[in-house]
């Protein structure tokens, strides 16, 4: 339900002229390659941060395929998002190696600290939480990623300090 609501809100805009130009450039350059839809969606998500319905419509139109096909692919893969993500995207690894070392407790602590659940974004747009299956840094289990930064050998009591450092950075900026 939530997803479709956000999608409709997204219908109104295709972003800045710069974003639009980038999107069209991506579509034009990869259109001819067989199986290009995934690549275009990945690039589009890079441009917009997520995949609003308006963007999906443009892609469907340009590729001459139905919107339902585009939407079907978007909702199939966990990497694609229909809703905006936070400025700092937290991703907690729930792969086996991390799970047996207590990553569920790390996730619970982050959720408690930020007052949101996995899959949600804080009201100020600063953080969003997701879970992932193995970033491959099993030697450091349990791990989480914030943006591109990997935090390893975590314990629940380390969580607050890490999140605070991002909040602090934001206040200083």
């Amino acid at each position: 339900m939530k997803q479709s609501e956000a999608g409709c809100a997204g219908c109104e805009t295709l972003g800045t002229p710069e974003q639009q130009a980038k999107l069209h450039a991506v579509i034009d350059s990869s259109k001819a390659t067989p199986g290009c839809l995934m690549h275009i969606l990945q690039e589009a998500q890079g441009i917009y941060g997520y995949l609003p319905m308006s963007v999906q419509k443009v892609i469907a139109l340009e590729l001459g395929i139905s919107l339902s096909e585009v939407y079907g692919v978007v909702t199939f893969y966990s990497q694609f998002s229909l809703t905006p993500k936070g400025k700092h995207r937290i991703s907690v690894c729930l792969g086996t190696a991390c799970y047996v070392k207590g990553s569920d407790k790390i996730l619970a602590e982050i959720e408690k600290e930020l007052g949101i659940k996995s899959g949600e974004c804080t009201a100020d747009g600063l953080f969003s939480i997701d879970t992932c299956r193995c970033v491959g840094a099993c030697g450091l289990a349990p791990v989480m990623m914030i943006g591109e930064e990997v935090y390893g050998r975590l314990t629940p009591d380390k969580v607050k300090g890490i999140l605070d450092s991002y909040k602090q950075e934001e206040q200083n900026a």
Binding site: M38, R133, C138, L140, A141
Partner: protein
């Protein structure tokens, strides 16, 4: 590039690579010929970069400038395997193995070891390489490395991962040269068949037969694919090969293209592996520039090119037909087989798909011969297998051992045993498609067939060690949550079966299970195995079936006694305070997030303050009181 030019590169860098492979004395003799006093190899794989190895490299560069060191070569490699000790740095020709490096440590090593006349900084070495009397043990002689045999990982942690010249000098493209100059496509297929190589992605299908079928298929267009969608959580060997030696995969795919008559390859790689993706892009670019990919390879008349395709986070795309559907740009749903991909695969054309580790074995098979390869391993599983050791084990990391090595050797000798004095309970192999091997089977020699016989499977090679604190019902539930989440929904047995199994397991972990539920679980599991469309659904019940057969008592304990031995299933736990031991300090009450702990009016003999008690109705079973009590008065039952 011609073969002569290739040889020239090999010759020019040969000694440089040899220094990293030889034992200390020989390496020291050879080192002056390379023009470098020292070679410093720092791991640039995901494991070590996550613990900030790149900052170590930056610091070394800065220190070199500062100290005027210009005859030390700094090399960013792939994974050394011992990820638990990252960031790792090895200095040659001594073979000094520095572990858990920080920029400060790097500065110290530069100042004391890498300067002219410097010597090894023993305090910073990996402890396992320093003998009690202070002498240094070569790292190849440590328990972690000693029993290993590196075929697929031969170049990982040896060469600069982004330098094609080093890859060539280390032996990459030697097999391609041999194939294009002296072997017919039939010879190539026969060599791979004779080697006995079986697919390392999970099912263990003979690679040579796959190639033979695809070669026999009629068609002017054929494809070669690489499965680098390593989705099994806890497995990271494919990532390490791609990060440490990407050219070995490109080379092997080109050889397969020559063997079956294909001119285009695709590597389908997880988007969650940014470092691997980047290194592949660099490697493909370099190979094209050198004429090792593209038209007229090595001037010998064969055309082959490779493109990358990025996954987008769907476990089912590791299944071969789903992977191909995904490359075609659709929802990654599997297709019924037959027709098999060797007949009708990608874009409807004959296709072979092999996993990264399988590809990594091709070069040695061609160069050293099928006979050599088939002399390693067990009767029906040849060669080596890479395992990603994880979970409750001291030496978390990547190990490659000959097939037939026992689980005990891997866990106790190579893995260094279980930390914190805990007891080994089981090893999980094969990820969400596999099962658990209990302690009484720890001496089983590991190969494809033995693992199936004891109710598990090889899978891609994730090996997660579980100790006594792991609840087997909970771990099955964990895997079912995974497969229920990742089921693509195309076929009913998998879509609904995973969901129902998860519900039943959840019931049991909440203490609401009944004997009937175990019967139902077995019934659903059988149906899923026999009627799901692809391996995801067919193997999804394996974690339950294997734990149910080997650890049935734990299930029964949850059902009949409402008790979780490992103390994991929250709904079945109770926390109590022993009023005789409680000194009344109040640490527990102050830290209780649910305000469930209050003071009673009982004071134990010998104590000054009244004891505390937990209100079970308010307790959320978080265990904070247990962690905070210094007097062992809090008990978990």
């Amino acid at each position: 590039m011609t073969i002569q030019e290739l040889d020239k590169i090999r010759a020019s860098k040969k000694e440089l690579i040899d220094v990293r492979r030889l034992v200390k004395e020989q390496a020291e003799k050879l080192a002056p010929n390379t023009g470098y006093r020292h070679q410093v190899l720092v791991c640039g794989g995901t494991g070590c970069t996550s613990s900030h190895s790149l900052k170590v490299i930056e610091q070394l560069e800065a220190s070199f400038r500062e100290l005027g060191i210009d005859d030390v070569l700094l090399v960013k490699t792939g994974c050394f395997g011992l990820c638990a000790l990252g960031p790792i740095m090895i200095v040659y020709p001594e073979g000094a193995f520095y572990a858990q490096m920080t920029p400060e440590h790097a500065k110290t090593v530069a100042e004391k070891h890498l300067v002219k006349g410097g010597s090894v900084v023993k305090e910073l070495l990996y402890k396992g390489t320093v003998h009690e009397d202070g002498s240094i043990i070569p790292f190849a002689e440590t328990p972690f490395y000693k029993k290993q045999m590196r075929i697929a990982l031969r170049n990982c942690g040896v060469i600069a991962a982004e330098d094609i010249d080093e890859a060539i000098a280390a032996g990459d493209y030697m097999a391609l040269e041999k194939v294009l100059t002296s072997m017919t496509p039939d010879d190539v297929v026969k060599e791979v068949l004779d080697s006995g190589l079986r697919g390392r992605g999970g099912a263990g299908f003979p690679t040579g037969r796959k190639w033979m079928f695809a070669k026999a298929s009629e068609g002017d267009i054929k494809y070669v694919c690489c499965n680098a969608d390593e989705g099994d959580p806890g497995a990271f060997m494919d990532r390490s090969v791609l990060e440490g030696d990407p050219h070995c995969v490109l080379e092997a795919m080109t050889i397969a293209g020559y063997a079956i008559g294909a001119h285009q390859g695709y590597i389908y790689v997880r988007a969650e592996y940014p470092v691997a993706v980047e290194r592949l892009k660099i490697a493909i670019g370099q190979a094209r520039k050198y004429g090792l990919l593209g038209k007229n390879i090595l001037g010998l008349g064969f055309d082959f090119d490779i493109d990358l395709r990025l996954g987008a986070g769907a476990f089912v795309c590791g299944e071969e037909t789903a992977l191909m559907t995904s490359i075609e740009g659709h929802r990654g749903e599997p297709r019924p087989r037959p027709p098999f991909p060797a007949v009708k695969g990608l874009f409807g054309k004959p296709t072979i798909l092999n996993n990264v580790e399988t590809w990594a074995n091709i070069n040695p098979i061609i160069v050293k011969g099928a006979k050599w390869f088939s002399s390693i391993g067990t009767e029906r599983s040849k060669g080596t297998k890479v395992f990603a050791l994880g979970g409750k084990i001291t030496n978390v990391g990547l190990v490659e051992v000959p097939m037939g090595t026992t689980l005990r050797e891997i866990v106790e000798e190579i893995g260094g045993g279980i930390p914190n004095g805990k007891k080994f309970k089981a090893a999980q192999t094969g990820g969400p498609s596999g099962g658990c091997i209990p302690a009484d089977l720890i001496d089983t020699p590991i190969d494809f067939d033995n693992l199936v016989a004891i109710g598990s499977m090889m899978g891609s090679g994730g090996l997660i060690v579980l100790d006594e604190d792991t609840c087997m019902v909970d771990i099955s539930k964990f895997y079912l949550e995974f497969t229920a989440d990742e089921s693509c929904g195309k076929c009913t047995p998998c879509r609904i079966g995973t969901k129902r199994l998860l519900e039943l397991l959840t019931k049991i972990t909440e203490g609401k299970g009944s004997e009937e539920d175990l019967v139902k679980i077995e019934e659903i599991a059988e149906h899923m195995k026999s009627s799901s469309l692809c391996a995801l659904g067919q193997s999804a019940p394996n974690p339950i079936l294997s734990t149910l057969s080997k650890f049935r008592k734990e299930y029964e304990d949850h059902i009949y006694n409402h008790h979780c031995t490992a103390g994991v299933c929250k709904a079945l736990l109770t926390y109590q305070i022993d009023k005789e031991k409680c000194i009344g300090c109040g640490m527990c009450a102050r830290n209780c997030p649910a305000s469930a702990i209050t003071r009673t009016d009982y004071t134990a003999p010998g104590h000054k303050l009244a004891s505390f008690a937990i209100d079970p109705a308010r307790c959320i079973k978080c265990g904070v009181c247990l962690q905070n009590c210094k007097f062992k008065a809090v008990e978990r039952k």
